[in-house]
Symmetry: C2
């Protein structure tokens, strides 16, 4: 058998099954956004590691190295955010072909440095290595969370409301646009203008090449103990919801009409309604998906207002036997061809 | 400029210069075998991350996946050992082409699992990802060390003796042999027999494809406070000694005749004396190089006896202005063409 038949999830499950640590200091090993180990009397240590591979996770044809550096840090920050933690220390392994220009690496590190400063993480280690061809960036982030505030994928219960931060689908739309215009000079993207929201198309592209991790939002949700489970959306809404469902032993109903869609994607959906799938399974939104007891709904609304970030009620947790269902405008079942990105799967 | 002109050391220096954390919890960031941060009142947290890239660090033509799995863990364990620490938690990122066989990954994980068990580290995280072509394995290990026992590259002082554990050069010899017989079926190497030391050639090969990290030795040296500085030999004796010299602000004399050479390499040197360079700059020995005040020499001998591992006095720390010198049998300066492996450098 080849790995492409097994898929990433199958592989991770197989591996996790082989390693049942039973270590007294391990609270959660493989199978959540970050590992959780006991650091001291009051804090858990969180650790997450992520890898970006050229031509798998990004293409240099449309990813400026500056944004690549930022994204490499963001995706790991997002994992710490999903645990309700505070990121502390960053490690980067950079694998580069010997012919890489120093300009490229200077801009890459400019991006890494900016994100590290912005989220107050200290870059304190890593390594560099030559690559036969592709660029590979591995980031590891250590974080901390008070023991009584840690959030897991496990914990959702029937009747909980399902929420998501920000907007869904822009990253998928951005990627689609980038793929369709591979010849465009993204390096000259007016990123400052985009960050002021003047250009819907560029906004989607920026969301893909340079997503903002929801560290503050995750931390606030954890500190106020408003949520019962949490994950970040990296593979896609439904795919990541399935992780919560499996870990929590529940099912879920999602309402299509409640999905928070950006003005840009909405405009685009008018001509291409089938691309609602970008919001369901596009992946790489790096928004937080979390479940909340009904009684906390008003507090979520207040937090959303306070932080200036949408937190949208998109569905409900139902019993496990009901599975995961997406309901359309009429309340009928909406069928989704694929749920989200999975490595190794070739179909 | 391209990175190959700058070299790995130039790159790391440039990066380290950009990140001067000034973080109150950071004891040592970039520039040692592992980062050192304050964990609690009594312990430091250590973190190291390493990457093995196919056709840069290993070739599947002569590396069985089982040994590759073991080595991926060993090289990070070796970094924790060099800090005097105890390894605790392991994270692995595995990047594989979709056509990789499940047999390959099963054996890879068998090796990872064995090393984790042998050194009592819990594998608690990581990720898998598809690769366009090459196999890449990133390992991160978290370790701990009591605050008063941590070992740095910094700390060596003039008059200290220089020691090394085990034997030098076998890994380089093994690699040379493997390269010369790329068609040999290493997968059927009688590893059990090799581990009983019956075959000098296979012993060198095993040392290259499956080195044993000196975790116990590093820990004992730190606990007994016998050494003033320590590093593991990954790039090569002289190259790694230079790291100690730079961090400690000293120079060093190394005596060629005192280098601990295995019976296998000795035999081979008779016909090829120039390959003494394998012991000086071959790299990947994963032995510990450390400096010791003269007064501790008897204690080092006793520890070496107790652990059953050679700890050989190979030279002395001298003032910085004297630089690093290798002296031959007659006390003359031995000139070394290249000091050790450095990524990106093409000459």
């Amino acid at each position: 058998m080849e790995i492409k038949e097994l898929g990433e999830l199958g592989l991770i499950k197989r591996l996790a099954g082989q390693f049942t640590p039973g270590h007294p200091r391990v609270v959660k090993g493989i199978g959540d956004d970050a590992s959780v180990t006991i650091q001291d009397d009051s804090q858990y240590l969180l650790c997450t590691t992520d890898t970006l591979v050229e031509d798998i996770h990004f293409s240099l044809q449309y990813t400026p190295s500056y944004n690549l550096g930022r994204k490499a840090v963001s995706i790991s920050l997002s994992d710490i955010a999903a645990m309700g933690g505070t990121p502390k220390f960053l490690f980067t392994s950079i694998i580069l072909p010997p012919a890489t220009s120093t300009d490229f690496i200077n801009l890459l590190y400019k991006g890494i440095k900016e994100m590290a400063l912005e989220f107050d993480v200290a870059l304190i280690g890593g390594n560099t290595s030559s690559s036969p061809d592709k660029i590979i960036i591995n980031t590891t982030i250590l974080g901390e969370v008070p023991k009584d505030q840690v959030m897991f994928r496990k914990g959702a219960s029937v009747g909980n409301r399902i929420y998501v931060t920000g907007r869904l689908g822009d990253s998928g739309l951005g990627l689609k646009m980038l793929k369709e215009s591979q010849k465009s000079k993204v390096k000259s993207l007016p990123l400052q203008a985009v960050s002021r929201g003047q250009n819907l198309k560029n906004k989607a592209i920026l969301k893909h090449i340079d997503p903002l991790p929801r560290v503050l939002e995750g931390r606030e949700l954890a500190k106020k103990k408003l949520a019962t489970s949490m994950i970040d959306i990296s593979d896609g809404l439904i795919s990541d919801l399935r992780h919560i469902a499996e870990e929590s032993g529940i099912g879920a109903n999602i309402w299509l009409k409640k999905l928070p869609i950006s003005a840009g994607l909405k405009k685009w959906l008018k001509g291409h309604p089938q691309y609602i799938k970008l919001a369901l399974s596009g992946g790489e939104d790096y928004e937080l998906l979390f479940t909340v007891p009904k009684g906390n709904a008003a507090k979520i609304e207040a937090l959303s207002m306070k932080l200036g970030i949408p937190m949208t009620h998109i569905g409900e947790i139902v019993p496990k036997r009901c599975g995961i269902t997406v309901l359309d405008e009429k309340g009928d079942i909406f069928h989704l061809a694929d749920e989200g990105f999975e490595h190794f799967k070739t179909d």
